[in-house]
Symmetry: C3
Subunit: 249 residues, 3 copies
Amino acid sequence: MTDHPYAYWARLTQLWVSQQPAKRFPQIHPTAVVDSTAEIHPTARIGPLCIVEEGAKIGEGTWLKSRVTVSSFCEIGNHCLLHSGVVIGADGFGFALDNQQWIKIEQLGKVVIGNHVEIGANTCIDRGALDDTVLEDGVILDNLIQIGHNVRIGKHTAMAGCSAIAGSSTIGAYCTIGGGAGILGHLHVADHVHINSYALVTHSILTPGTYGGVFPIDENSQSQKNAASLKQLHSLRERIRTLEKNSKP
Amino acid sequence: MTDHPYAYWARLTQLWVSQQPAKRFPQIHPTAVVDSTAEIHPTARIGPLCIVEEGAKIGEGTWLKSRVTVSSFCEIGNHCLLHSGVVIGADGFGFALDNQQWIKIEQLGKVVIGNHVEIGANTCIDRGALDDTVLEDGVILDNLIQIGHNVRIGKHTAMAGCSAIAGSSTIGAYCTIGGGAGILGHLHVADHVHINSYALVTHSILTPGTYGGVFPIDENSQSQKNAASLKQLHSLRERIRTLEKNSKP
Amino acid sequence: MTDHPYAYWARLTQLWVSQQPAKRFPQIHPTAVVDSTAEIHPTARIGPLCIVEEGAKIGEGTWLKSRVTVSSFCEIGNHCLLHSGVVIGADGFGFALDNQQWIKIEQLGKVVIGNHVEIGANTCIDRGALDDTVLEDGVILDNLIQIGHNVRIGKHTAMAGCSAIAGSSTIGAYCTIGGGAGILGHLHVADHVHINSYALVTHSILTPGTYGGVFPIDENSQSQKNAASLKQLHSLRERIRTLEKNSKP
């Protein structure tokens, strides 16, 4: 998606939409539940059945389409678009183990989202534990994505559907994360890194480039044979070493 | 799930349910937000806190259980059942890159869903970019599934939870897609194809059959040894070739 | 997360929160849709735009934050916390095949959730087919998790984001399931089993320990070479056997 005709096409579709008759919804739909302490910019639109909790901020021209939750004190920048079912600022998954029981760590941070960010349907972005979870300007997220607490995503990074970032990882700018890909917690991914679909990032990636790794799909009986052999791969490697030793004169 | 006793059991449970006292909800729950231009069949039921936007169509006997979004101009056929949290017709994930920034491509298509379709909780089906996203009759989708823009799913295909289809792929009829499985974009999957759980379809599949591929689970230290060897598999293969050459008389 | 300082920290954050001024929401928010036959404990809080259907039970001190669905006859114990977008008790994914068409099996069981359970945003827990789906005391679930019908999860088990358990599997107590990990249906996982992120459990695990298995991520051209070799791994193993036979004196 890098060629100029495509960008031209994008602008054409925007022109088409801008010339449609204006929507009839009020700026804040009467069924939305907006706390009196929330700061909603006069040009923002809060759609039906949205929730904006105490102290939350919604920026200029930003649109919460419908059934969006913005939790207490979370901040959404200008010209953002949040689709139906999005949850901003639910508690991060933080618990301490005490006598084999989980003790909740209250999540005291918030979510801070920059300008021109789009977030797809039913995507969840958790609030930080102490510091904040941050999405920089121009980030675009598809549907059903999970962003853990204290994650930071750099500007203009794009994530496809069903991908996920675990807590406290930082992702650089201009990255793309493929559908269903995951990034474990407490890692760092540099700028201009591209992760292919369904890959799991298990260590920090400090060099720009394209990364991936997924078991190849195959006719089922074939893939099961290969999977069975894979369970012995380490010992196969040892056997190759032995053969090499023995084959030497 | 092919034997007749099972189908008999299914019909028995339906009989049981049909004999329960009728639910007391009105056909359109007073908390639902239904646009005045939406066409709701008189026998359809729109549950609490649902949203049906302008120009949307809901067919005969179809039931949106609760907290379901049907976006503008999307069409749901007859005798469908949509569970809580479903989002039909959010924007597809379409952006063009211009000067390292993402320009939104307005999504001008809609979603068209056939008859006797069931859609699980929090599943998302995006509207098309220009053409429509289509689910044919009898498709059944589990929870938390992502269907990208301009996908077409053939009749009586079933998808298990957390599976996903990326944009513009077409899936045949009578397929089954296992839980967590994915299908990349712009691919074609033939009729009567079965994809196992957690497999990623990376190329079109034109021959009916069962396909899969997933790294086998193992005791952790064992699986890590095998994963480490896997990173050298290509060179191991070269070493086997060398050994074979040298072992020839 | 086992050390005592961490548990101490958890209790400190709880103290901090307990000293904040009380929230101003009423116990049952006026926009919540609560059936008259539901049993809500007087100390429970039902947040905005939640749905509690007929015969459901919500225990002492339990809090449905907002936009939570608790379907008919499901039971939530005491001191639970359910985040925005959670769906409890949607129909399990049960269908019988009859003449290549899917016949719905009505889901007649319910969901029963113990005490001190926390459930993350947009997570779905399906109702049982005949018996119930059960979460025991102290279970903690992150966001976007899928729990199939008739699953049972033992006490104090933790599941990270985007993980999933297919129908009728039983998970022991004190387990941890990593992010994006999956457990196929009709399996049993013992107590004190730990599944790493993105692994798929394809058979029952009866021995406590840590299990995993995921294709290692790598620079893309490298990982594609290894994936290609993986498709021939079974035959590579045969070639190693042949070499070994031939190398024997």
